[in-house]
Amino acid sequence: MIDWFAFPVVAGASLVSSALIVTLYSLGLRLMTSAGRSPTVGPAEFTGAITVLTPKRAAKEARRTRKALAANPLTDGQKRLALVGAYACFALCGGAVLFGVYLIVPALQGG
């Protein structure tokens, strides 16, 4: 007996969880940027990486980012709100991942 129902269940579960996590994290990033805190990842932190910017180019990019962010149409209050929103998104995203792991581990559910 082939359980055909299992396939839509897997598809649905993966789609919902993946979309939720990606959306929450992306939203967090967007709010961070709105709040004027665009995350730039320089080469200093990831020296072992294969594709890195040269330090000079990274500094240039960081400068450009700062400059672009300086002209922020939001008020200070709005910025703060956006930042709180961003952290909330990241927290929800992490929570969603942990909940997903909780769901599949029988030991955590006492069975």
């Binding site: 897997v10 979309a19 990033l29 967007r30």
Partner: protein, 398 residues
């Protein structure tokens, strides 16, 4: 732990070696993207992958039960599979795995394992010893459907990630921040790998213990089996990672952080959901499917269907080819102890030969990362998909 016969010990050792090579081979699946996009230092990435594989192996036993309790009919009136046949199946799987590795053919160690086991069982115990319903619903159909599911999920997730972080004119989009997310998403993939792949070996060892009467029919893997398999796959992951770091040069598929994050999240979600339902998936195929899907989610991408076809053909071939190897080894094993010795000798010669061959010819990163890397090349992405308006050109694009 009761005292085991020599053949049982041999099978357990061989199964653990298979587990080790599985980890060795699959580090790249989880960790190639974060290393390539610069999200993690290679050293750290490999260590994290090893630890999470270890943890993942302890999380669930559904897949192990599929193998030990469902696929092959054993016990109570049915035909008994013997440890000798499992041994033959493992030899077939390992030989096929190494051959494809050497030739750079896309293949799946999981399907090699199933193919070898099924082939050996058919030769040793006849066609009716296999429960085709279980093979169909837990192995073959998931193998066909899961890459499609994950491809679609990765495609939509990539679109979402790009849509939500859409660049406002002249302002940075913050997509570099996806690198931090990749640290977590690739870790999740490593965890998922542990939940699915380590369990295949647990299933084989449990099947052996049941077949030789050390364990009752229908029971799950014992704790020491889980622990041994978890350890073997973790050590394999760690050693394999070092090899990859040493040889990995340029030429890795270009994957943007946002795309990598979306692909990994979909991979992890699909594998974890499947493990939960006892689907014995090929993690390599799922990872490849998601790399292709997320590539398609980027603007200006086209599929190279010829290459996609080649990869698919390699996948389809694995199960029957390993089955033939397993069947051949089982035929020898049926001769009795001499056959087993012959199996060991032939297997060792093939392994030694392949090792020697791989030493003499230069092993490139293609050998180590071929599966996922090939998948990445299936999608062609135009470098500058859209010419920006003159006033936007000088603006930030980090």
């Amino acid at each position: 732990m009761p005292e085991f016969t020599l053949i049982v010990v041999l099978v357990i050792a061989l199964a653990l070696i298979f587990d080790f090579t599985n980890g060795f081979h699959d580090t790249a699946n989880a960790m190639a993207t974060p290393i390539a996009t610069g999200a993690m230092k290679p050293k750290v990435a490999v260590a994290v992958a090893a630890v999470l594989n270890l943890v993942g192996a302890f999380l669930s036993t559904e897949v192990a039960k599929t193998i030990s309790g469902g696929m092959i009919r054993e016990g109570d009136g049915g035909i008994l599979i013997t440890p000798e046949l499992i041994f033959a199946g493992l030899i077939g799987a390992i030989v096929w795995n190494l051959m494809t590795w050497l030739r750079g053919l896309p293949s799946s160690s999981s399907h090699a394992l199933f193919g070898g086991l099924i082939g050996a069982t058919i030769i040793g115990a006849g066609f009716q010893a296999i429960d085709y319903n279980v093979v169909m619903s837990k192995v073959i159909l998931p193998a066909l459907i899961a890459p499609l599911i994950v491809g679609l999920v990765a495609f939509l997730s990539t679109r979402l990630a790009y849509a939500v972080t859409r660049r406002e004119a002249g302002r940075p989009d913050g997509r570099g921040g996806f690198r931090y997310a990749q640290i977590f998403s690739s870790s999740l993939v490593a965890l998922a790998h542990g939940t699915n792949d380590a369990q295949k070996t647990m299933g084989v060892i449990t099947l052996t213990l049941i077949a030789s009467g050390y364990q009752t029919v229908g029971t799950g893997p014992e704790f020491w089996v889980v622990a041994a398999c978890a350890l073997a796959i973790a050590v394999g992951t760690y050693t394999g990672g070092w090899r990859i770091i040493q040889t990995m040069g340029r030429g890795l598929t270009e994957i943007k952080p946002a795309q990598g994050f979306a692909a990994e999240t979909s991979t992890a979600a699909t594998i974890l959901a499947s493990s939960h339902l006892g689907f014995a998936l090929s993690t390599t195929q799922v990872a490849s499917g998601s790399v292709i899907g997320s590539g398609l989610g980027r603007r200006g991408s086209t599929v190279r269907w010829g290459m996609a076809g080649q990869i698919a053909l390699g996948w389809v071939l694995t199960l029957p080819a390993a089955g033939i190897m397993g069947a051949f080894a089982a035929g020898l094993a049926l001769l009795g102890p001499i056959g087993i010795v012959l199996d060991v000798i032939i297997g060792s010669i093939v392994v030694a030969g392949i090792y020697w061959w791989s030493r003499s010819s230069r092993v490139t990163h293609h050998h180590l990362l071929h599966d996922i890397d090939d998948a990445g090349h299936v999608v062609r992405i135009t470098k500058t998909p859209r010419k920006p308006a003159r006033r936007d050109r000088k603006k930030v694009a980090l």
